[in-house]
Each structure stands twice: as structure tokens, then as C-alpha cells.
């Protein structure tokens, strides 16, 4: 029994058990079982990663074959697991942060009744299993399986409050948009199968050079379409903000730390294919940069704290995709790691605030909460600092690395850097805006303020741990000139060994320091502006709806993506189908069928009227004609 199998299948087992018998066990047992299984999974994951680390750098791969999935004559694919530094890192993140979020959820979901409680933990465990399948996949079929299962668990968790139509709609929207991405991913898989006759990473990725440039671009773009669907990039980002309908731990786990990063993971995993086509990489980079900037602008005007963090996630994912797009896979993944920590922290802290204010999410009705919730406030400030890129925090290091690569990396482009920099500026502004309007300044809603209270320890502990983690993880990827101790880059080196050269930024020390100074200055200035705006007497929030400027209205309505999709896809498609149904199906096809029947009947009536009309002389005429006919035939055929 390979430890990997335990890591993978234990959460599944507890998920199924909880779903079927959880309600009867009672809340304590159900939650305990769920958290324990993820903790044990984390332990085994750590053990397997340590085992992996012991292997020599060159052959740092463990392949586990579970059973045969498909065995067509010339093509075999099995349910195989692959542990290598990339997936090692990911399983640690998934199980580690997953456990903390499970712990937090025990407190957060306390009010639910036993049935719903067990169902929640079953779904979250099922999500951990799906994410691990995705991450540990050794071939394209298993990664696609994980891909879809993660989509299903996100559908279930977003639509967890089944009674609420908005939650169910958000779940449906998330799954369908994911499915649009999966369509592209499926096309890529078939193209790869056509080209290589196999789906195993070991057979496809090392021989990627066999792909013609055109085919490489096609596969790359289709793979990125799948990645964009899952990581909410570009046009396919619309589902993430609505996914906030789900409980907050779900937002933290799925829509911040793990699932949304699957797209970045996929691009990193298939970097061999992407390297073959600069066009595909360009598209990835530019989509990432654009998404990062646009999402950041929208986040500046949102009032619902969870939506702010949702758009912030879309923006940060944009950075990771930008990083990967310019060929700096390690930098992108490093940002993925740091983001997982501080974004999970921010969501949990937001959840804690919401929990304290009994579901209140609108920041305009908060303020001065730092006296009531010191712990949540402190941890949230740490998280916001990392997000904004305050110097010496993990966010600062990881985002800088990406922006540096965008400027000087192998596929660098100044436009990319500029978009990235502007995005970073907006990020600093909206994180400052949120912190100051929630925790500082005068409390705006005294009633809510009175009742605010600090969250219980079971929610506080994960916050503290995540805060410490956020700061600590930054040390793994310090900039090159500071120290040669690069644990993160070294750890991932074997995975990206096939790249021409580890993309060392060809930048002088002066440029790097200059850039750092620029970023620090921006953060400081924008932070001060936010302080002035949101802690002064007249909170500078325009009430909902009456947008002061056109730009505000544009941002407030999130660039009208939802309305556009609603019109183009939903209404147009349904209208067309309805037309198709009425005219083609009922009219044309069914019409002909019924028409044939009616015609037959009409013909019968017509003949009856003509022949059997009682006129004897006509009968005589028919008789005579018949006689002639028979005589004629007899003559013709009787030689």
C-alpha cells in the first residue's frame, strides 16, 4: 500500500462515509472524522514528499499504477499516479491548507443541523480527493477526471445552501463555465492522443518536440482554454465572483487556495508543449496580464468584502498566469504557493468578520472593528500586507519576481510589466481600502458594532497559523542577489530541467533594487490615500447604484460581462432553440410526418368522391375502359 494511495483515497472514503451516515453520527464525530482524514492525508503526503526528496535530483519521480482504465488494442491508459516535486508541493498545499480550513469550518458551520453539517464535510472531503487526483495524475485522462470531479465538488459546495436560488444558480453557472473550459481541454487531449498515440505524461511530454509548430500552438491554446475555465482567466472568469454564494471556508479552500490554481498547474505541467509555440505562451501571458489589471480595477469599487477578495483572487491568478506565460514557471508557482496562504487567510478572516456580524458583508456598515476583533484584525492586516506587496512579505517577493520576469524574462514585454505594475497599484489601494473601512475609522452601524465579538479559538487558530505561514513561506523564494539559498527553485528544478536555462533574470542589481523601491513607494502612497479616504469622517462610499462617474458605473457593473453573456449565450441560445423547436421540430419534421398521414386520408376521400358516386353510366364507362385495358394487355403479352 503505497502511502500515496492513502493520501488519495482516505478523503474519498471519509467523504462517502460522511455523506451516507454522517447525519446519524452527530456533528462532533462527522467533523472529527473529516478533519482527521485530511490531517492523516497531510502526514502521509509529507512522508511521501520526504521520501521523494531523498531520491537523487535527476530521477525524482514516483509512478504508482492503480489499475487499467482503458485497454484498446493499440492504446492502454491506467489510473496512474505520479509524484514529482511539482505534484509534491501541490499535495502539501492541498492537504495542509485543507486541514486548516477544515478546522476553521468546524467553528464556522456550527449553526447548521447535523445532516447539513455532515453533508458539508463530505463534500469538502470529496473536493480534497478530486484535487489530489488532479494534482497526482500521471496521464491526461486522470487529470481530466480530477478536473471534472473538482468542477462537480465546486458545484456542490457553491450550491450548498440548496434552498437559495441564487446559490443554486451560482453553482450551475460555475459548472457550465468550467465545462466550456473542459471542452477545450478535451479537444487538446484528443489532439495529443491523435499525435502521440498515448496519453501518459511520460510518453507525451518528453517527446513534445515531435509536434509540428501549428499543432503545438493548437494544443497549447486548447490546454490554456481549459486552464482559463478553471482558473477564471479572461472571458471565463465570470463564475468566480458569483461563487461567493457558497460558505466562506469553501471560498477559502476552493476559490482561493487550490482549485483555481489548477489552471496554472496544468500550464506548468505541460510547459514542454507551451515552450514549443511562442504564440501560445504570448496568449497566456497577455491574458494573464489583462485579467490581472481588469480584475484589480473592478475590485476597487466592490462593497461586499468577499467579492473584493474574489476579484482579488482573479487578479492574483492573472499574475500567476502572467508569470507562467513569460516562461517564469518557478516564479508563477511560487506566487501560487504564497497566494494560497495569504488569500486563504483573507477569506477566513472575512468569514470571521461575517460570522461576528451575523452575515453582514457590506463594508459600508462596518468600521472600527479592531477594538472588538483584535485577532481577526491583526491576521487580516498580515494577509492584506502580503496581498498588497508590502516589502519583506511573501507577496512582495513572489509578485516582484513575476514582474521582474515580465520585464527581463525569456519572453518579456514592457506592456506586460506595465499592466502588472498598474494591477499591483490597484491591489494596494483596494486592500488598504478594505482594511481601513472595516477595522478603522468610526463604526457606521452601531447596532452591529455592539454585537461584534471575536471568533472562537477553533476559527482563530487557523487564522494565526495561516498568518505565520504567509510570512514564513516568503523566505523560500528570496530574490537571487540576497541569498543563494533558493529552496523553492532548487526543489522544482528537476521538473523544469528540460527548459533551456533556468530563466535567470538578466537584470542588474541596480534595476532590481530600483524596481523594489518603486513598488514600495507605490504601496505606501496608495495606502496613505486609502487611509485618508476611508477613515475620515465622510466615508467616501457612494451609496449603491447612483454611480458618480461613467468609469465607476463601468467598474461597478463588472464591465457588463454578465449582462453580455446573459444576452449572447443564454437568451440568444434559448431563443434560437425555441425557434428551432417550434418551426423545425414541430413544423418541418413533425409537420411532414403528420402531413403524410393527412395526405393519405385526403387522397382516400378524393377517390371515394370520384369513383363511388352512384352514377351508373360512369360505372359502365369504367367497365368498358377496364375491358379495353384487359384486351389490350392480352394482345400485347400474348405473342
Amino acid at each position: 500500500m503505497n502511502p500515496l494511495l492513502v493520501v488519495l483515497f482516505l478523503p474519498l472514503a471519509t467523504a462517502v462515509f460522511n455523506r451516507l451516515f454522517g447525519a446519524r453520527l452527530g456533528k462532533g464525530a462527522a467533523a472529527g472524522l473529516a478533519c482527521a482524514s485530511v490531517l492523516v492525508a497531510f502526514a502521509f503526503a509529507a512522508d511521501s514528499v520526504l521520501g521523494l526528496a531523498a531520491l537523487p535530483a535527476a530521477s525524482r519521480q514516483v509512478l504508482v499504477h492503480v489499475y487499467d482504465l482503458l485497454d484498446l488494442a493499440s492504446f492502454r491508459v491506467g489510473f496512474d499516479l505520479l509524484l514529482d516535486p511539482l505534484s509534491g508541493m501541490m499535495i502539501l498545499v492541498v492537504t495542509g491548507i485543507g486541514f486548516l480550513i477544515h478546522l476553521y469550518a468546524v467553528g464556522y458551520m456550527h449553526e447548521e443541523d447535523a445532516g447539513e453539517y455532515a453533508r458539508f464535510f463530505a463534500y469538502v472531503n470529496f473536493f480534497v480527493f478530486s484535487m489530489l487526483t488532479l494534482v497526482l495524475a500521471a496521464n491526461f485522462l486522470v487529470i481530466f477526471t480530477g478536473w471534472e470531479l473538482v468542477g462537480v465538488s465546486s458545484y456542490l459546495l457553491i450550491g450548498f445552501y440548496r434552498g437559495k436560488t441564487s446559490a443554486a444558480d451560482a453553482g450551475k453557472k460555475a459548472f457550465i463555465v468550467n465545462r466550456v473550459g473542459d471542452f477545450g481541454f478535451l479537444m487538446a487531449i484528443f489532439l495529443i492522443w491523435n499525435a502521440f498515440g498515448s496519453l501518459d505524461f511520460s510518453a507525451v511530454l518528453p517527446h513534445a518536440a515531435a509536434l509540428s509548430p501549428g499543432m503545438a500552438t493548437a494544443v497549447g491554446l486548447l490546454l490554456f482554454m481549459g486552464a482559463a475555465g478553471k482558473s477564471a482567466q479572461g472571458p471565463l472568469h465570470v463564475w468566480l465572483p458569483d461563487a461567493m454564494e457558497g460558505p466562506t471556508p469553501v471560498s477559502a479552500l476552493i476559490h482561493a487556495a487550490t482549485m483555481v490554481t489548477a489552471g496554472v498547474f496544468l500550464v506548468a505541467r505541460c510547459h514542454a508543449i507551451f515552450e514549443l509555440s511562442p504564440l501560445a505562451l504570448g496568449v497566456v501571458a497577455w491574458t494573464g496580464a489583462l485579467t490581472a489589471f481588469l480584475a484589480a480595477t473592478v475590485a476597487m469599487v466592490q462593497v461586499d468584502i468577499k467579492r473584493v477578495w474574489a476579484y482579488s483572487t482573479v487578479s492574483q491568478l492573472g499574475y500567476m498566469v502572467l508569470g507562467v506565460g513569460v516562461g517564469a514557471y518557478t516564479a508563477g508557482l511560487f506566487h501560487l504557493l504564497t497566494h494560497a496562504f495569504f488569500k486563504a487567510l483573507l477569506f477566513l478572516a472575512a468569514g470571521s468578520v461575517m460570522h461576528a456580524l451575523h452575515g453582514e458583508l457590506d463594508m459600508r456598515r462596518m468600521g472600527g472593528l479592531w477594538r472588538k476583533m483584535p485577532l481577526t484584525c491583526a491576521t487580516m492586516i498580515v494577509g492584506a500586507a502580503c496581498l498588497a506587496g508590502v516589502p519583506l512579505t511573501s507577496g512582495f517577493f513572489s509578485k516582484d519576481e513575476i514582474l521582474l520576469m515580465a520585464l527581463r524574462g525569456p519572453h518579456a514585454d514592457f506592456g506586460l510589466w506595465l499592466l502588472g505594475y498598474l494591477g499591483a497599484a490597484c491591489t494596494a489601494f483596494y486592500s488598504g481600502r478594505l482594511i481601513f473601512s472595516v477595522f478603522f475609522g468610526k463604526p457606521r452601524d452601531h447596532h452591529a458594532y455592539e454585537h461584534a465579538h471575536e471568533s472562537p479559538w477553533v476559527m482563530g487558530l487557523p487564522l494565526v497559523l495561516l498568518a505565520v505561514g504567509s510570512l514564513a513561506v516568503g523566505l523560500l523564494g528570496l530574490p537571487g542577489f540576497l541569498t543563494h539559498w533558493q529552496p523553492f527553485t532548487d526543489w522544482l528544478a528537476p521538473v523544469f530541467a528540460d527548459l533551456k536555462a533556468v530563466p535567470e533574470a538578466s537584470a542588474s542589481r541596480a534595476l532590481v533594487l530600483g524596481l523594489m523601491a518603486l513598488y514600495t513607494g507605490t504601496v505606501a502612497v496608495l495606502g496613505w490615500i486609502a487611509w485618508r479616504l476611508y477613515t475620515g469622517e465622510a466615508a467616501a462610499h457612494p451609496a449603491d447604484g447612483e454611480a458618480t462617474s461613467a468609469l465607476h458605473r463601468l467598474l461597478w457593473n463588472k464591465y457588463f460581462f454578465d449582462e453580455a453573456y446573459g444576452f449572447v449565450f443564454v437568451r440568444a441560445l434559448l431563443g434560437y432553440s425555441r425557434w428551432l423547436w417550434r418551426w423545425v421540430d414541430q413544423g418541418l419534421v413533425d409537420g411532414t410526418v403528420n402531413g403524410v398521414a393527412a395526405a393519405a386520408q385526403a387522397a382516400g376521400d378524393f377517390l371515394r368522391g370520384r369513383v363511388h358516386n352512384g352514377r351508373t353510366r360512369q360505372y359502365a364507362a369504367y367497365l368498358a375502359a377496364g375491358a379495353c385495358l384487359l384486351l389490350g394487355l392480352a394482345l400485347i403479352y400474348h405473342r
Binding site: 371515394r608 369513383v611 363511388h612 358516386n613 352512384g614 352514377r615 351508373t616 353510366r617 359502365a620 364507362a621 368498358a624
Partner: protein, 100 residues
């Protein structure tokens, strides 16, 4: 000149005239006569062939044809008179109740 062909031709001519009469006349009595005419053309042909082939059975057949014709006329006229009793009009074109 007066071989069997001539008589056969005459019989066919009579048959055709009879058919024409049935098709065009609207008075049932005349139609009956034309039907009788067609019967007779048959008889003529039979007699001509009997003479030509030297057979007596032709004549026997004529016997039967005449008998049948007689029965047919009897029943036919009976019907016509019955119709006349109720309809007061025997024009064939007006009698079309027996329709499908």
C-alpha cells in the same frame, strides 16, 4: 366475301354500338335494349363460328344466352318499374343514392 370474318366483324360492330348505346342513353329501357343488343352480337358470333367449325354446341350456348337474357330483362324491368313507382322519374343520372 361472306366468310366467318365478315360475321365476326358484324358481331363486333353490333357489340360496339350496344356499348355506345349503354354509355350515352339516359333512358334505362333503351339501355336495356342496348345490353340485349350486346347479347345478340355474342349469339351472332357463336352461330357464325358454329357454322364455320361445324359444331352444334355453339347453338346450345346460344340457347342458354337467350335464357339468361330473358331472366335479366325480367328482373331489370321489375326494378325499373319499382323505382318508377317511388321516384316518378327514371332518368339514370338522377338515380345516384347508392353511393359510397
Amino acid at each position: 366475301m361472306f366468310g366467318v370474318g365478315f360475321f365476326l366483324a358484324l358481331a363486333f360492330a353490333l357489340f360496339a354500338v350496344g356499348a355506345f348505346g349503354v354509355l350515352t342513353r339516359r333512358d334505362p329501357l333503351v339501355m336495356f335494349m342496348c345490353i340485349e343488343m350486346m347479347f345478340n352480337s355474342g349469339n351472332l358470333a357463336l352461330v357464325a363460328l358454329s357454322r364455320y367449325l361445324g359444331l352444334a354446341s355453339g347453338h346450345a350456348l346460344v340457347f342458354f344466352v337467350v335464357a339468361v337474357a330473358a331472366a335479366e330483362v325480367a328482373v331489370g324491368l321489375g326494378i325499373i318499374i319499382a323505382i318508377f313507382r317511388t321516384e316518378k322519374d327514371v332518368n339514370v343520372d338522377h338515380l345516384s343514392e347508392l353511393k359510397g
